[in-house]
């Protein structure tokens, strides 16, 4: 049983969003992953990502990269700007934009290029995820 957390009560969330969360948990488990908790918030996406990540003490946030489709206001950029505007809870290194890692990303996330990026600071948007449609944000 996955713990689910809705901050303002499930009656205020939409059935679609609850279904989406359930489906995502199911997909992850089918892919061999284990989900420790699922969180549904009544906030703008960039707000909820920041808030949930901070509450959980998440060291890494993974999200889709809509910027690949050239959409303005992509979550990743908004999140990056929000994070920059906030005081860092701990000493932070430089924020690295994905393209700082020029080598083509592969399906192997254990790529040395990824680790090189990871070690450069406690904040990052890692280039390794771009070809897979993912953005990694370390905290």
């Amino acid at each position: 049983m996955i713990a689910q957390f809705a901050d303002h009560g499930p009656e205020r969330t939409t059935p679609e969003s609850r279904r989406l969360l359930d489906e995502q948990v199911k997909h992850i488990e089918e892919a061999g992953g284990t989900v420790a908790g699922a969180h549904l918030r009544l906030e703008r996406p960039d707000d909820q990502i920041v808030e949930v990540g901070e509450e959980l003490g998440a060291g890494l946030t993974v999200m889709g990269n809509r910027a690949q489709r050239g959409e303005e206001g992509a979550y990743g950029e908004r999140l990056r700007l929000r994070r920059q505007a906030r005081p860092l809870p701990r000493p932070g290194g430089p924020l690295l934009k994905g393209n700082s890692c020029q080598r083509p990303a592969t399906s192997n996330l254990l790529d040395p290029c990824f680790y090189k990026t990871m070690r450069q600071g406690s904040w990052l948007v890692a280039g390794v995820g771009l070809a897979r449609g993912a953005v990694l944000i370390g905290a």
């Binding site: 989406l20 969360l21 061999g32 990540g53 999200m63 889709g64 449609g133």
Partner: protein, 46 residues
Amino acid sequence: MTIFPTKILLATDGSREAELAARTAVDLATSHDSELRVSTSSLPCP
């Protein structure tokens, strides 16, 4: 030495990109034995 995060948050909206992000998160969490959490957002019901 590499210190990998012990808690990973997957932020998803069900999009194609988010599905790819989910695979990435699962790969990372399983290969590093990290805790994986999932979150999404919803506009309140009127």
